[in-house]
């Protein structure tokens, strides 16, 4: 009976909820954009952002808790991330501020992930069935089940981490691609302008000298 209890508790401990958001958006100069998220108590929150395009690729980032007090404040950075444990339950706000910029519109990629112990919503009912089922099983099968589920949990978490890293690398690649495409077109433009100016300058020099010696003899 005791082992049954223990395995129940273990099982409960393994169940958790992960909530993920990954978005990209645009901010005009002198504007700021805020995103709000409902977060439960004692959740591990992970956020990160990258500026993909625009100006000096910098943005202000601010996290506030449901009461409005600042948790994290970054000024004019191009990438950043912050992990924290939520103490209060409620709407956390994640604000991006482009007000220091005069002309450049910024494109930003933002990832949010929250990891909460316990099951919520529809899955809480399913937990009921698990409990009922386990009560019928022998102790040995329960141990088996618990070991299997802990392996699956680790596997799931690892896949999750890989996905997270992949999202981050994808955003980096987009940002680098934007930079190199802009460099490429700037070089083309510069080459054309410079060639034009060289040609114009040499023609102008010759024409000017000719004019001096043709119209008046003021050598």
């Amino acid at each position: 009976m005791n082992t049954q209890r223990l395995s129940f508790l273990f099982l409960f401990g393994l169940i958790f909820t992960i909530e993920v958001s990954a978005i990209s958006f645009t901010i005009e100069p002198h504007k700021s954009v805020c995103f709000y998220q409902k977060v439960r108590k004692k959740s591990r929150i992970h956020t990160d952002f990258q500026v993909l395009k625009g100006g000096k690729l910098d943005i202000n980032f601010l996290i506030r808790d449901p009461r409005g007090s600042e948790i994290y404040n970054l000024k004019q950075t191009s990438t950043g991330s912050h992990n924290f444990m939520s103490i209060k339950q409620g709407d956390y706000s994640f604000c991006f501020d482009n007000s220091f910029s005069t002309v450049s519109t910024k494109e930003v990629n933002f990832n949010f992930k929250s990891h909460t112990r316990g099951m919520f919503g529809a899955n809480a009912d399913k937990m009921q069935n698990v409990q009922e089922y386990l009560e019928k099983e022998k102790a040995s099968t329960q141990e088996h089940i618990v070991k299997l589920s802990s392996t699956l949990e680790k596997l799931s978490e690892n896949i999750d981490e890989v996905r997270e890293l992949q999202m981050y690398l994808k955003a980096r690649e987009i940002s680098h691609r934007n930079t190199s495409e802009s460099t490429n077109s700037r070089i083309l433009l510069w080459s054309l302008i410079a060639t034009f100016f060289i040609a114009a300058a040499s023609i102008a020099q010759i024409t000017y000298l000719r004019n001096i010696f043709t119209k008046k003899r003021r050598v």
Binding site: Q37, I159, V162, R177
Partner: protein
């Protein structure tokens, strides 16, 4: 298999929370994401209390054409299949004339979307293929690993394309520098010869 009936919710990978943001009058706020072709995209939106504005919800494809338009009077859902890889924009727009309200009115909107594996309904797949709950979760993980693998190969291709762009930029800079030195040199020599001839003709030299 005895475990077949056991509901193991080991992980809820791909569950997406609603992100909320504010929209004011006469503006369009967009969220976009680069999505591969042949992906299922689903999502939903809702206006949070107090409901003061009724923005229109529009989805644009990478060519900036409208895929779907929806009114937000009721909480709504959307779903579509992507036919090309590119940036898909999900926009809330209050550009259409709204009943005149105080300037500075803002409306909080809740929105979320998922694509790829996360958008697939595994309950449905489990029923069709007669999978137990544990097997369903394993199947989900298997599909996710396959998706990760496909994405990595795609990212590798893109990195190669970017490397080509960079190398072409590099060689363009080099050739331009050499060319400009040659042009300046040639122009200088031509100028000198022309002026020499010119002055000789005018019998100055």
């Amino acid at each position: 298999m005895k475990l077949k009936n056991l509901l193991f919710i080991v992980c809820l990978l791909g569950l997406v929370t609603a992100l909320q943001f504010d929209i004011g009058q006469r503006e369009e706020k967009c969220i976009y994401e680069e999505i591969e072709h042949d992906s299922l995209v689903t999502g939903d939106f809702e206006l949070m209390d107090p409901i003061l504005l009724h923005p229109e919800f529009i989805i644009y494809n990478p060519q900036k054409q409208v895929i779907q338009k929806k009114q937000t009077n009721q909480p709504g859902k959307f779903a579509f299949h992507t036919d090309q890889t590119g940036d898909y924009h999900f926009c809330f727009s209050t550009k259409k004339p709204q009943p005149s309200l105080q300037s500075g009115t803002i409306q909080r909107v809740s929105f979320n979307y998922k694509y790829g594996i996360a958008a697939r309904d595994y309950e449905d797949i489990a029923k069709k293929e007669h999978l137990g709950p544990l097997e369903r979760e394993i199947r989900k993980m298997q599909d996710q690993v396959l998706e990760i693998h496909t994405d990595i190969i795609y990212a590798k291709g893109r990195e190669e394309a970017m490397r080509n762009t960079n190398e072409s930029t590099n060689s363009r800079v080099m050739w331009f520098s050499i060319l400009s030195i040659l042009v300046l040199f040639t122009t200088g020599i031509l100028q000198v010869y022309y002026l020499k001839g010119f002055f000789k003709k005018r019998k100055i030299i």
